[in-house]
């Protein structure tokens, strides 16, 4: 491990501890390369093993398609069908996530204002959370103007709770002495919220974001499975079902692959946002230096 120390300018009146340099851990280049190479290599090995098993056993592609079949099928006849479906699923996922983020934060802020409000609202949130989404979806279909809206509400309900509960936890976990300090300087409730509680809750919000991001995609797909949609404006879940009925295994796998890649991309994006927000100050985003 190499530590690069930028020696701090020491001043006579700055005390013995001012000479302690600010340590910045730096990852060696070889390690950086390995960090990318090792996961990529793992995936390549798994895919290769899959293809070899197909070849060795002569498995026909209507039972189990090889990776090559999936790729040719996707870039051949499938992408004009799958990409619009992916777009629909993505729209539902992101609109649900944005609603859940805004709703989760706003309601969390309202909840922590008073114990009575919390007592009144929190049970409702818990009831919505514990009721299986597949059971709610058909009901929602009856009351909403379109399938898309019903799916979005389903995805929202699933993503909303982890964001809400993390935010509530974060807003409550503020250092008591910092609260005292704000009181001492006569800070208003609003100033306390903007300058203290919301920034202090950031790490918790980021946890909620990462969980909620993944869950909203899963919920969008699960809800579509149970709600069922057809024809124009249908998402990836419908295309998966349809391909299954037609025994079009390569397309099923291609749709599955698209879903996993989307999930990975959402996870990557939310992790990046989290890192960008926290890496300068929060312990969770800092490497341990020993």
């Amino acid at each position: 491990m190499t530590l690069v120390s930028s020696s701090a300018p020491a001043r006579d009146d700055s005390g013995t501890d001012a000479q302690v340099a600010v340590l910045v851990p730096r990852t060696p280049t070889s390690e950086k390369v390995l960090r990318i190479v090792i996961p990529v290599l793992t995936v390549v090995v798994v895919v290769a093993a899959w293809q070899i098993i197909i070849w060795a056993n002569n498995i026909p592609k209507y039972i189990l398609p090889g990776p090559w079949d999936v790729v040719t099928s996707f870039f051949g006849p499938d992408w004009p069908i799958l990409l619009p479906a992916l777009w629909v699923t993505l729209q539902i996922t992101f609109m649900a996530l944005v609603l859940a983020l805004v709703g989760g934060v706003v309601i969390a802020v309202i909840l922590v204002q008073s114990r009575w409000i919390e007592l009144a609202i929190y049970p409702l949130a818990v009831i919505l959370q514990v009721t299986p989404i597949v059971a709610i979806a058909p009901l929602l279909l009856i009351y909403t103007p379109s399938t898309q809206v019903a799916l979005m509400i389903c995805a929202f309900l699933v993503a909303f709770f982890p964001i809400l509960s993390n935010m509530v936890q974060g807003l409550k976990s503020v250092d008591h002495n910092l609260l005292n300090l704000f009181d001492l300087y006569g800070a208003s409730r609003w100033e306390q919220l903007i300058y203290l509680k919301l920034p202090a809750a950031q790490p918790y919000f980021m946890v909620g974001l990462r969980i909620g991001g993944g869950l909203s995609l899963i919920a969008a797909v699960v809800a579509e499975f149970s709600a069922g949609s057809s024809g124009a404006g249908s998402g990836l879940a419908f295309r998966l079902l349809e391909a299954g009925y037609r025994l079009n295994m390569p397309r099923m796998f291609a749709a599955l692959l698209l879903l996993s890649l989307t999930g990975v991309a959402i996870f990557g994006a939310t992790s990046l946002v989290s890192w960008l927000a926290l890496h300068r100050w929060h312990e969770s985003a800092i490497r341990r230096e020993n």
Binding site: A8, P9, R11, D13, S14, G15, T16, D17, A18, V20, V22, L23, D175, N177, L178, N180, L181, F182, D183, L184, Y185, G186, A187, E191, Y195, L196, P199, A200, Q202, R280, W281, H282, E283, I286
Partner: protein, 254 residues
């Protein structure tokens, strides 16, 4: 403050009929066994905790709606209590920001305050990059940036090592002399209180009360020489004795 009592919600009598008059420019140490209500007294003075009875008067300050002299009190907690998401600059800016001072106008005062504690070069560092002693300095700079009349310190250096602590003691003395601020310093260290203060208020526990109020006069400059002097040792002895008596009267509080 006069005849202040404090009863906690669990029925514990933390302070009983405690009276203390603080003169301008004094450096007072509140010394006593743990549980004697030193910190409680400090919190009541700062307005953070209300007194159950009695009152705190501020003859020389403008009083706000909460009965507190706003902007006239600086508080240093036992922990540095910095906002980890803000830089050192942002942390020291906080009191001014809450008073509605713009960032551009505040910048000079913040840098002066940081320079006084020797951290001008660390304005843009984050708290996690600093050592414990440096964090404490930031906390002191933050308390002094509003130019308060009264600086309350609640065992600020209890968690620091001896060397850092002595250095910070010297810094506090220098800041006190330069600024003319009144300091009330809660500590459980006899040596620290004798080194720093010109008045030591020894408290007893159960109930918390002023046990003895001792003025410390010395011909010495307060430096290493003073620490090694016969006079320092004899004062420490007297104060220790008073503290022992206070502990015995308090029913052997630990």
């Amino acid at each position: 403050m006069s005849h202040v009592s404090k009863v906690f919600s669990n029925g514990t009598l933390a302070l009983s009929d405690m009276s203390l008059t603080v003169g301008r420019g004094e450096f007072i140490s509140l010394l006593g066994p743990s549980g004697c209500g030193k910190s409680t007294a400090l919190r009541i003075m700062s307005g953070l905790g209300g007194a159950s009875s009695g009152q705190v008067d501020w003859p020389s300050s403008k009083i706000n709606s909460k009965g507190l002299p706003e902007g006239d009190i600086g508080f240093v907690f036992q922990e540095p209590t910095l906002m980890p998401w803000q830089t050192v600059f942002g942390n020291v800016y906080l009191p001014l920001r809450l008073q509605g001072v713009g960032k551009a106008q505040a910048a000079d005062r913040i840098m002066t305050s940081l320079a006084e504690v020797g951290l001008a070069d660390f304005a843009h560092a984050y708290p996690r990059e600093l050592s414990g002693g440096m964090k404490m300095r930031v906390s002191i700079a933050r308390a002094l940036v509003t130019k308060p009349k009264l600086l309350l310190m609640d065992e600020p250096f209890a968690a620091l090592d001896e060397i850092t602590r002595q250095k910070l003691n010297d810094d506090v003395l220098r800041l006190w002399k330069n600024s003319g601020v009144t300091v009330i310093f809660v500590t459980h260290s006899v040596f620290e209180s004798v080194y720093l203060s010109n008045r030591i208020v020894v408290m007893r526990a159960r109930p918390g009360q002023v046990f003895s109020d001792m003025a410390i006069h010395t011909s010495y400059q307060r430096d290493a020489l003073y620490r090694a002097s016969e006079e320092y040792r004899s004062v420490c002895f007297d104060v220790s004795k008073a503290l022992q008596d206070a502990i015995q009267q308090g029913g052997g509080a630990h």
